[in-house]
């Protein structure tokens, strides 16, 4: 026996990392899936996609080359018109871009023309009745029936070519008519453009045009595959140790739990980095090979050295991604008891990473200054910036301005991304250390992991998790409701409320067996009937007043700049209110959403967040949380500030009166106010309101502020009750 040695710190972390890495490397199957698969996957993907792309480009070339126009003419003046067109085709100057390589005109009888068109032997058939040439040479308009072949070259090119030819004929006729009346041709040709240096679009240029989009998609794919590199080692690191019964001996190592977790993280991070490198190298080499398969000089643009440099830059940008992914996978699997359970918990992580990485490609998002701080989305954006800077400096003069701008932004973006990645990784490792050391997790039974998915015993209120679960389900249902909803506004509103609000709420209420009265605050809003009436009247005044004040603020903030979606929504509302009677409009726009959404947000979500008898701080947090969800649920950014404010007020009303009724009345009054304003407004006022340019009736804001004050006073009066439970009976 000997005195204890100093333990913990980096020696312990490295010892654990080394141990885990050796174990991982000896697991040949995991090693193959994590590191070797990517090397084989990209060539296979590239091969299949290149074959398709090459076929498409060859077809494009063929079409480019075979721009012939074959027209059948019938009728008494067919030969004369065909001759006029023939003389036009011989002239080289002044041809529009869509002019065909060769024009063939055949004069046939109508029956033959019909056969030619039906069999695809001609592109178009023009019937030219007698007197057509005389009309052209006169001053009238000549109507011509043109029938296109649906068999031959079923694309827009034939029509464009024919239009180009016939427009040239029309120009020729116009000039002749002007000459006849002694006017110069320049009268109808005030401007002529002579282009130089303009090359016709080539397949290679087309590929170059779509390269940025391909690069973005590959970066998202790389982010996802890099993260999946963390899966196997993360599962093995903690859940695997639990399954094999080796975790206990590690947990009694004489070092803090954080050191154990950091050691495990280093092993997972190393494998994730190796996966990233394998993917990046495979992509670079595959791109280099891919270039040789593509026609039209693409290969000359794709140098192996440049591609490897791009791979290296991506490694720099994705180093932080690998760290965050490794830490995230460790955190998620830390609570799992077995490898299978860990795999199940990692599945949603894939969706999260895919969603975040894909968000970086949303137009407008990538330019945001703080985007690099967002995990996965930021990493993709930084990688794009780095690659753009590198390729921009490779000599593209046209994009030099943009490249310089991007280059100036890159060091900041890289720094933000690295700092953010470090901070997020550190936080995740701290959480992991807590989870690994949590004896409830460490020594729980296997049924505990899925206990939350079972149908629980009847109880009072939902938990915070179940509140969040309903919101998530509601958002998913809202997404699908957009697809299910009919095009008409009224049925769409009903379907949306039924699918996105009522159905998820009913499912959760049945599943969780909560006390409906407690959860949805189904009580009288005051100790006495007068107080209850005061609460309801107060709610109505607050709701109506809040709409007017919110609308005044929104109109001042927008200054007429509203999205097309908001304008469309406003015009649909106006059409509904003005087109029908008032009562159905109020029921549909005010009462129905008030009841459904109040049960959802101020019922389930608020009670889940606040719990029974919440302390002031928790109540405030709960009100803010449910108001944020309520605002987000309304999708249109222009409406979010107002719906957020409404959500705050309705949450306060519900918790203050301990009843959902004032909130329902306030919500209904809030929505009914614009219905009444629209019903009373003139057509001119409505037209400007729909465009976001109109104003509110004079004095309405003052009245609304008064309503808010009186309403708040009435609610405060109703609130002065004795023991809230005793009045329930």
């Amino acid at each position: 026996m000997r005195p204890p040695q100093p333990t913990g710190g980096w020696p312990a972390r490295l010892a654990i990392a080394r141990r885990d890495l050796v174990e991982f490397v000896r697991d040949r199957r995991a090693l193959f899936i994590t590191l070797v698969m990517p090397m084989a996957m990209y060539p296979l993907l590239a091969l299949s996609s290149t074959l398709g792309l090459r076929t498409a480009m060859v077809e494009l070339d063929r079409r480019q080359e075979s721009r012939r126009l074959d027209v059948a003419f019938s009728g008494a003046d067919a030969a004369a018109l065909a001759a006029r067109l023939g003389s036009l085709a011989d002239r080289a100057e002044g041809r529009p871009e869509a002019w065909p390589e060769e024009v063939t005109g055949r004069v046939v009888d109508p029956a033959t023309a019909q056969t030619l068109i039906d069999e695809g032997a001609a592109d178009a058939w023009i019937d030219v009745p007698g007197g057509s040439l005389a009309t052209l040479d006169g001053a009238e308009t000549l109507p011509l029936a043109v029938r296109l072949s649906t068999v031959r070259q079923p694309d827009r090119r034939v029509k464009e070519s024919l239009l180009a030819v016939m427009r040239s004929l029309a120009d020729d006729v116009r000039r002749a008519r002007l000459r006849r009346v002694g006017l110069p041709a320049s009268l109808i040709e005030p401007l002529r453009l002579d282009f130089s240096g303009d090359a016709p679009p080539s397949p290679a240029a087309a590929v170059r045009d779509i390269l940025p989009a391909i690069t973005s998609a590959v970066l998202v794919l790389l982010a996802l595959l890099t993260a999946t590199g963390a899966f196997y080692p993360a599962i093995d690191a903690i859940a695997g140790e639990k399954e094999r019964g080796t975790i206990e001996t590690l947990l009694i190592a004489p070092c803090p739990m954080f050191d154990v977790v950091v050691g495990k993280f280093l092993a997972v991070f190393a494998v994730t980095l190796a996966t990233l490198a394998a993917n990046a190298i495979s992509i670079a080499l595959t791109s280099s090979v891919l270039g040789r398969f593509l026609p039209g000089g693409i290969a000359s643009d794709l140098h192996v050295g440049d591609l490897l440099a791009c791979g290296l830059l991506t490694l720099v940008a994705y180093g932080g991604l690998a760290a965050v992914a490794a830490a995230l996978c460790l955190t998620v699997t830390a609570a799992a008891k077995s490898a299978k359970e860990a795999q199940n918990t990692l599945t949603p992580v894939v969706m999260l990473i895919a969603a975040l990485a894909g968000a970086a490609l949303v137009p407008g998002v990538e330019a945001h200054r703080w985007l690099p701080a967002v995990p996965f989305a930021g990493h993709v954006a930084v990688a794009k910036s780095l690659l753009a800077t590198f390729t921009g400096s490779a000599g593209d003069d046209r994009s030099s301005g943009h490249a310089a701008q991007t280059a100036a932004h890159v060091p900041w973006a890289v720094a933000i991304s690295l700092v953010s990645s470090l901070a997020i990784t550190w936080l995740l490792l701290r959480v992991t250390a807590q989870l690994v050391g949590d004896e409830e997790i460490l020594f729980r039974g296997p049924e505990e992991a899925t206990r939350g998915l079972g149908r629980p015993a009847p109880r009072g209120m939902p938990t915070v998790w179940q509140g969040g679960g309903l919101v998530a389900l509601g958002f998913a249902a809202l997404w699908y409701a957009q697809g299910l909803a009919p095009p008409d506004f009224v049925p769409a509103l009903i379907v949306q409320q039924a699918v996105a609000v009522l159905a998820p709420l009913a499912a959760f209420a049945w599943w969780q067996r909560v006390d409906a009265r407690e959860t949805f605050a189904l009580r009288r809003p005051g100790s006495t009937w007068p107080r209850a009436l005061a609460a309801v009247a107060g709610g109505a005044l607050v709701g109506g007043g809040l709409f007017v004040v919110g609308a005044a603020v929104a109109l001042a903030a927008w200054r007429g700049e509203v999205s097309a979606e908001a304008k469309q929504f406003a015009s649909q509302l106006v059409e509904l209110i003005r087109g029908g009677t008032l009562v159905p409009a109020v029921l549909l726009l005010a009462v129905m959403p008030a009841v459904c959404e109040e049960l959802f947000f101020r019922g389930w979500v608020l009670s889940a967040c606040a719990g029974p008898r919440p302390a002031p701080r928790r109540a405030a947090l709960a009100i803010v949380a449910q108001a944020a969800a309520f605002a987000a649920f309304h999708l249109l950014p222009e409406r979010m500030p107002q719906t957020f404010a409404l959500g705050l007020v309705l949450g306060w009303l519900t918790l203050t009166t301990r009843s959902i009724l004032p909130a329902i009345v306030a919500h209904a009054a809030h929505n009914a106010t614009p219905v009444l304003l629209v019903a009373l407004a003139s057509e001119a006022e409505l037209a400007s309101s729909v465009q976001g340019e109109g104003g509110l009736p004079p004095g309405s804001v003052a009245v609304a502020v008064g309503c808010l004050a009186v309403g708040a006073a009435l609610v405060a009066f109703a609130r002065r009750t004795r023991d809230p439970d005793s009045e329930d009976s």
Partner: protein
């Protein structure tokens, strides 16, 4: 020395209900003593040993190992203690040498000292023939010897063994106890639990019998058995509540 005083451990069961797994347990294991912790399934043996090994935190009470308190100085406890679990806890893909190397590094041993310890343990526990073979290919007895070697790699004064013979055959169990007796002779403090009373009846200095989370007997074999025929097993059944004896 191991000192356990008024130890209480509560778990949260379904519905947030608290279940008391260990209820006011007190006992000591003196330096150089080998004590057997006896009890049926669910009696509280493993919970007590996990608390001693700092894997679980006590709800109440005091537990000290070699003078270190499990609450205030868990790192000190871990440095002074070697722990062998019922599942041998050796990774399949590592060799015994790598297991010992990794454990030694975690305990801060330098390379020279680590090599000495691996040689010494290899000789004393007879590991030499499979020292570089992956643990996944070893027999249960060999794996348990590796587990014991890992618990001893940092040369701790205290050993805690939770049902160390549960996966061993009679030959492996006898060999293990011979090693434990040698370790006791070297001055180590040993606390072990087992269901196989006959294996430890004549090897432990004292026995602590635990039932439903409470100590129901604590003494030497002679004190527990007294004049009762049937030896330690009969004495055990006589002491635990609801026993068949």
């Amino acid at each position: 020395m191991i000192e356990v005083r008024e130890l209480v451990k509560e778990y949260r069961a379904g519905g947030g209900r608290a279940v008391r797994a260990v209820d006011g347990v007190s006992f000591t294991v003196a330096d150089g003593e080998m004590v057997g912790l006896l009890g049926g399934n669910g009696a509280g043996k493993t919970t007590t040993m996990r608390i001693v090994a700092t894997l679980l935190a006590p709800t109440a009470g005091v537990v000290r190992v070699a003078g270190h308190d499990v609450r205030t100085d868990p790192i000190g406890v871990r440095r002074s203690l070697g722990y062998v679990s019922a599942t041998t806890g050796v990774p399949d893909r590592l060799t015994p040498r790598e297991v010992l190397d990794s454990s030694g590094r975690l305990h801060g041993l330098d390379r020279r000292r680590l090599a000495e310890r691996i040689d010494s343990l290899s000789a004393s526990l007879d590991l030499a023939s499979f020292l570089d073979r992956p643990c996944g290919r070893l027999s249960s007895g060999q794996r348990q010897r590796v587990s014991l070697a890992r618990a001893l790699v940092h040369d701790p004064p205290v050993l805690v063994l939770d049902e160390p013979t549960s996966t061993l055959d009679i030959v492996g169990a006898r060999h293990l106890f011979e090693v434990l007796e040698q370790l006791r002779a070297d001055g180590r403090t040993i606390l072990l639990s087992t269901h196989r009373l006959h294996e430890i009846e004549h090897r432990c200095d004292r026995f602590v019998v635990i039932d439903a989370g409470r100590i129901v007997a604590d003494g030497t074999r002679a004190e527990l058995v007294g004049g009762r025929p049937g030896g330690l097993e009969e004495a055990f059944f006589a002491t635990i509540a609801g026993g068949s004896a």
